[in-house]
Symmetry: C2
Subunit: 330 residues, 2 copies
Amino acid sequence: MTRTLNFAAGLVLLLAAPVWAAEPLPSWNDGNARKAIVSFVARVTTEGGPDYVPPSERIAVFDNDGTLWSEQPMYVQLAFALDRVKTLAPSHPEWKTTQPFQAALEGDARGLAASGEHGLLQLVMATHAGNTTEEFEQIVRTWIATARHPKTGRLYTEMVYQPMLELLAYLRANGFKTFIVSGGGIELMRPWTERVYGIPPEQVIGSSVKTRYEARDGRPVLLRLPELNFIDDKEGKPVGIHQHIGRRPIAAFGNSDGDFQMLEWTAAGPGPRLALLVHHDDAAREAAYDRASAIGRLARGLDEAGTRGWIVASMKHDWKLVFPAVPEKQ
Amino acid sequence: MTRTLNFAAGLVLLLAAPVWAAEPLPSWNDGNARKAIVSFVARVTTEGGPDYVPPSERIAVFDNDGTLWSEQPMYVQLAFALDRVKTLAPSHPEWKTTQPFQAALEGDARGLAASGEHGLLQLVMATHAGNTTEEFEQIVRTWIATARHPKTGRLYTEMVYQPMLELLAYLRANGFKTFIVSGGGIELMRPWTERVYGIPPEQVIGSSVKTRYEARDGRPVLLRLPELNFIDDKEGKPVGIHQHIGRRPIAAFGNSDGDFQMLEWTAAGPGPRLALLVHHDDAAREAAYDRASAIGRLARGLDEAGTRGWIVASMKHDWKLVFPAVPEKQ
């Protein structure tokens, strides 16, 4: 009984006291972006305050490519697709003379670009479908454990942004539920997001192919079909959020105009809202790109952030470091 | 410091000890169904045991109609659609002479049945689409707060099964994450599942219409389109589970052959699995129906439960009571 009471007292104490022991967000400089985040969290978690939001409604959504991990010099998903083309090529001799596969096999970036969106879609369908969901998960697990970034030689899962990892943990410690809402393939993320970001598979939203339930050798499987199910980008992001979460987030984090509608939808709700864009302006530590970039283009977001009250976080000025420290020996 | 240590000690104690203070599942008789549930939970939560499952993988899925609440004498969703037809009729004078609307307005069950699946789909599209998601949510909230079961006169949210409410709470107290996986419309459930079942909107999976993101009077909205997005029934249930959850449940609960594939998919994974069918064999307290029923038909499930090791819970014999006690004054 006494132990139970002690426990209850401890629990009450824990719930009443600020949940962060040390200074939160240590890799963020003490600029406007960090101030806006900390102030927002304080407002929505202050019980009895005018902006209090109950924990069940503390939903925060994060884009992945360019927001939680690096998307330069190419989307990780494209690197995966190109590696898969090479792996599958022996059983597809016709690819040697068929675009976009020929370009993929020859590392011909220009030819690949010339194949356009339709070509990229062909690549994705040829490399992301035809397996069962369990086979595909294993393919992703194996690939992500060894594939390395072409410039830094780091694992892709080490090309995540330390300040954003701290932000995810800080929000969760303050009762938020954190979701990924990415234009990337949902099953390319789920096998590792819990380990790397602390985000379980059921809180990952992304683009997907259709699947079909069928028996294979007497065992039920879900077969991945070469048919698009959902594109979780631009106007698709609020649609995907509604489908999966069923309520409007109060905080949204992105880095490109593909995230515009997600931030707009989040910010349009009543009460306190936080919308933040990561601005890649750090050529020395990562990359500098925005209006003119083919990957992660950010123009409308920069133009309208000010009038909309969205925060633009400068990678160069707001972040003390970009990537987590990695043990010397790789 | 001392308080912190006390708290930590209390937490360890809490995690190590059985989480249920009193006897679990008080509304279940001590038969095979209850024994199977309690034994399964003990096995997957025993750290160091051969069947231990870490909390993040303790996913339990529940059908809704006929498993968590009553589906007789008609699906609640159909009652909702019929009420909506009456509400909307003044702006649709043509419905007076057009099927299936005429039958709906005249309470002509035979005419309604004669319109078949296509007619029912027409009804759903005419009554579930054309609004924004926020408008529809408000319509559902208003309706569910007042609409009553045609036989008992109870609110539909009081036509839930007390033993299943206890099962949901028992699983959650043992580290499970509980999901609804229903053939019913997802947005017809989300406004009240947290209050009634303790299941938040993001853990509700169901059938859906497509939505479109657009601006209305300068504000972004999601418009509900008269176009099916997903049918979460039969083979669709494993597909929906994979889309939303991204991993295989270890426990599944249903009541009809519409749940067969969900139970099959759940049971086909490695390690301990629990698959349970609620058998409606209690004409006195609720309803008795299975093989011959148009609603909630259960035939294959009954035929194969034995060889598959699925539990068939008899409403009549396994449940001490069916519905929660409701205050006299309604």
